[in-house]
């Protein structure tokens, strides 16, 4: 199969998913609350009957649900998610100003968790039953068991307060100005601007939150890589590779790991979504100005439009990441190309 055909097919498959996601978010936002008015309007306005009536008419809450859905969908397609009750600004404006920080954080986190997780998994499988295997397995188990917000608090206490190695929050020191926004990634923007001080500072601010965020997915990537590797190491092609007289390292990496990578690639999408979920729980601890913190503040202050906007966005990001994973699949799994 050519990559064009493959991509087109994937895009067509994603369209109904996106509509379905919008339908679910709509149902949650409009059909679940006993009274949507009370979740959108502040309590002070609820006592005034005229305001409530006006609100119903303005937002079309007096119309049937399917009509409401279509007009809501029309707004969402145009990027209109309503107005946040907390910040009093359009949710879309809020989100677009906070999104780059989260994407930068989670991109570094996924790179850390993939590198460490795959390495640990391979080591653990190759030296199965040895002390190093037990150590890796227990580490992975701790990783998937620790609540990410507790890990964030512990990490902040240890590395930022006790040892003072790393800053405790924000993307940059207060005195530094953000690099000119090209990508929204402070590390890349400062590199493009040639500003080394900002780059160094941005990295030191990223280190703690991205590692904390990476721990959970590192745990489950380690566990998955280990079992995929064990399965792969027991296959006949490993014996063939060894009998050809290849060096052990090449046998393990090129024949063992190469075949174990397919299930690992499959869960990159899932890992990324768990990182976004983790961001919701950790960003506020590190005062990280991303959509995770925005979601936390919206949810904990009952800002309904804000919460729904972030929910929809995170689901869309997840679909997008899975689309990228599908492209990656095309290169990792030769069977797709042959089909």
């Amino acid at each position: 199969m050519l990559i064009h055909t493959y991509l087109l097919r994937r895009i067509f498959l994603a369209i109904p998913t996106i509509f379905g996601i919008s339908l679910i978010v709509f149902v949650i936002a409009n059909a679940l609350p006993a009274d949507p008015v009370s979740s959108f309007l502040p309590n002070s306005a609820l006592e005034n009957q005229t305001i409530v009536e006006e609100f119903r008419r303005k937002w079309g809450l007096d119309r049937p649900l399917h009509e409401q859905y279509l007009s809501w969908l029309g707004n969402v397609i145009q990027g209109d998610f309503g107005t946040s009750l907390r910040s009093k600004r359009p949710v879309s404006q809020d989100i677009s100003s906070f999104l780059p920080a989260t994407i930068e954080l989670s991109t570094y986190a996924i790179m850390i968790s993939l590198t460490c997780g795959v390495t640990l998994g391979v080591i653990s499988a190759v030296w199965r039953g040895m002390p190093v295997d037990y150590l890796a397995r227990i580490l992975a188990l701790i990783g998937v068991s620790f609540p990410v917000f507790v890990l964030a608090l512990l990490g902040k206490r240890l590395f930022a307060v006790e040892l003072e190695w790393l800053p405790s929050g924000r993307r940059l020191d207060l005195l530094l100005r953000a690099p000119p926004g090209i990508t929204g990634f402070f590390t890349i923007d400062s590199l493009l601007a040639g500003n080394w001080r900002v780059l160094q500072n941005a990295i030191s601010h990223l280190a703690l939150p991205s590692v904390v965020l990476a721990v959970f997915s590192m745990g489950f990537i380690t566990r998955l890589t280990r079992s995929a590797m064990l399965e792969s190491l027991g296959q006949d092609y490993m014996r063939t590779a060894r009998s050809k007289g290849l060096r052990e390292r090449i046998v393990i990496i090129r024949h063992g790991l190469r075949n174990a990578l397919i299930p690992v690639v499959t869960i990159i999408g899932l890992s990324y979504s768990s990182l976004l979920a983790g961001a919701v729980l950790t960003e506020s601890i590190f005062s990280w100005p991303g959509i995770g913190r925005y979601a936390f503040l919206s949810a904990s202050s009952q800002d309904f439009p804000g919460t729904m906007g972030v929910t929809m966005l995170i689901a869309l990001i997840y679909v997008g990441v899975n689309f990228l994973v599908d492209i990656l699949y095309f290169f990792v799994d030769p069977r797709i190309r042959a089909a």
Binding site: L23, L32, L141, S145, P147, R157, S300, Y318
Partner: protein, 303 residues
């Protein structure tokens, strides 16, 4: 996963779908010796369960309500009277932790119970009916899986309003799809067996075939998945509660205790003890889940 996986812990004499199997305690003891982490997990879980049961007699102070508050001792570090310190209202953290067990553990179990029941039913029907029903039900299932669990639960809980009951409903809505997908696969693998054909040939109704013949033979891996999942459910429940979408703040609950302390970060005892309790409990449950999986999955045992 093997469909007859529970059999290694039970005497494997039972014919398919025969009701109760007896537990072979000698095999259980052998497994515990083989798998020290499973033993550690069980001991820790029993410890937490006992704490929950005897919270009233164990707790040194009142955990909630006006009596619990002590305005003279706000946010005090651990001392002899309050071994784990006090919180922002002067309440004893240890007592609140002990009572918190009563909420956290049952909530996790309920989420798994409801989620697996709904998911298994949907998956079983999809797998058994096949065709366009299968297609439709599985498409819907996949849509729910496009949301990270806690994000979907967060949205639903925000819509329903924060409370323990709503948090459990929200988590169930986010949880069932995983069971639906697994159960569908299991039903598909059991369906072509001859004993199913035999039941059909004696004129059994379709619900009878599905729920009395196929399901009992497909349920074992679901039970293994449930034990693997309880830790995760507790983790996400604590997360939801951390977001302020769980129990009422007056009710002692671990995630909520951590959340209310992040404004007082320097007072480490306020978040450390509840946070570590969640971690310890979830770790124990994961040790148990892993142990059960190792025992029941013959492919893993070989390795």
């Amino acid at each position: 996963m093997s469909t007859s996986s529970i059999s290694s812990l039970t005497r494997a004499s039972a014919p398919p779908s025969a009701g109760r199997a007896r537990v072979d305690w000698r095999a259980v003891r052998h497994q515990l010796k083989q798998n020290p982490l499973l033993l550690v997990g069980l001991v820790v879980l029993i410890f937490f369960l006992l704490i929950g049961i005897f919270a009233e007699s164990l707790a040194p102070h009142e955990p909630r309500g006006g009596e619990a508050q002590n305005m003279a001792k706000l946010r005090q570090p651990p001392d002899a009277e309050n071994p784990f310190g006090t919180d922002q209202l002067g309440r004893d953290i240890l007592s609140r932790l002990l009572y918190g067990t009563r909420l956290t553990i049952p909530s996790g179990f309920l989420v798994i119970l409801f989620g697996s029941a709904i998911g298994s039913a949907v998956g079983a029907i999809a797998g058994y009916l096949g065709g366009s029903w299968d297609e439709l039900l599985m498409r819907v299932t996949e849509l729910f899986m496009a949301f990270p669990t806690i994000i979907l639960a967060m949205a639903v809980a925000a819509a329903l309003g924060p409370s323990t009951r709503n948090a459990i409903i929200a988590l169930t809505i986010a949880w069932w799809p995983f069971y639906a997908r697994m159960m569908r696969g299991l039903v598909l693998s059991v369906k072509p067996n001859e004993f199913v054909e035999a039941t059909r040939s004696i004129g059994a109704s379709r619900p009878y075939i599905l729920f009395r013949t196929i399901t009992p033979n497909a349920i074992a891996p679901i039970i293994v998945m449930m034990t693997l999942d309880i830790g995760n459910a507790i983790l996400v429940f604590a997360g939801l509660s951390f977001l302020g979408l769980g129990p009422d703040p007056t009710i002692p609950e671990w995630g909520q205790m951590v959340a209310s302390s992040i404004d007082y970060f320097a007072k480490w005892w306020m978040w450390f003890y509840p946070g570590m309790s969640i971690a310890l409990l979830v770790m124990a449950l994961n040790f148990i889940g892993d142990g059960v999986r190792d025992i029941t999955d013959p492919r893993l045992r070989k390795m």
